[in-house]
Symmetry: C2
Subunit: 170 residues, 2 copies
DNA sequence: GTAGTGTTACTCGGATAAATATTGTCCGAGTGACATCGG
DNA sequence: CCGATGTCACTCGGACAATATTTATCCGAGTAACACTAC
């Protein structure tokens, strides 16, 4: 029961990208520097977000990453699933039918009650994550976080975002 | 975001122990055999449950494990926390203050909004797990599971449980 | 027949390796911007 | 002065090690039951 360290980096990156202007991009190297992380490693997670359709990546100079959707349409669940994979945390290995008793398979047609209970809990977890959007986090950030940190974040964004000269609608 | 394989074994073991008579015990070897698992490895998790106060272990012949509390007083949350550890799945590494910007520490006195959101979701997860008790799972098991599997489980319990001759209240 | 005693076999417990997943790093392919050259 | 073109530097992407965690195993300490012996 441990989430990847990369989940935190991915969420921070997405939240930062949510702050820059529409059509603008930010290279992964800037994000990695901001968080004191290895650029090559952050790319791994950003790529996962791109594959999942959460981010867009633009190659070449003045390229980088940007959100593929509006911040209110991106939830923490989307990010977590993209980085950690879609499979549930509890994976029923069906150990109940592993014993030497060797009962016929038809006996285990109905789902394992333990698995069902664990999946119920995980469903609640995912519902809570789906309720947390990037937009909401941005609002909470501006309200709850120390103004100095907010100002520093804005300055960083203004300094590192790269506006796209030609408006491309890929 | 992956739970230990041992969590499943621990829950199955606890659910099996919930089925035997009061004061009776069952050795770990029997449980391991039932689930087709290594006895030595299952002991690791059973020991964790014992340390957490969920199970009781009795040494010597006719010894084994039994529940330390009534089944209705044991939730899946208790078991998961005992096996996986009490720490939350999302551990904020405070990467927001790792950048080269070097802002004073006082700026980050207020909690990270991302961490807060993740902990909210995890709180929902734990609440759902706390709602699932061994007693409830036993009821669901007898109702939903194939009668043949239930009968086999009962037979296994009757065959492998060891009644304590002297009622000891440790 | 009963109590005491020694042995025994069974239990759990912790310390120790193997396997797997995660974390971290490197180098290569691709692309758009820039400078240069020609008209 | 304007357009086309070639070069270049910067970007992301995937393949390759190092580390941490999880999984699996072995051997030892402890204990209660059992059998035996003495009373």
């Amino acid at each position: 029961m441990k989430l990847s360290e990369g989940v935190e980096a991915a969420i921070h990156a997405a939240l930062t990208l949510a702050g820059l202007e529409r059509e603008a991009t930010m290279p992964a190297s800037a994000l990695a520097g901001q968080f004191g992380q290895s650029p090559s490693y952050l790319l791994k997670h950003l790529n996962a977000l791109t594959v999942a359709g959460i981010l867009q990546s633009l190659p070449g100079p003045a390229g980088g990453y940007r959100l593929a959707r509006l911040p209110e349409a991106i939830s923490l669940l989307d990010i977590v699933l993209a980085v950690e994979g879609p499979r549930p945390a509890f994976r029923c290995a069906e150990i109940r039918q592993r014993g030497p008793a060797a009962l016929p398979v038809s006996v285990f047609a109905k789902p394992c009650v333990i698995n069902a209970a664990m999946l119920r809990a995980e469903k609640a977890y995912r519902a809570a994550l789906a309720h947390e959007t990037l937009d909401g986090l941005m609002d909470a950030h501006t309200v709850q976080t120390d103004p100095r940190a907010v100002a520093a974040g804005c300055a960083f964004v203004l300094q590192n975002q790269r506006a796209q000269k030609k408006s491309k609608t890929v």
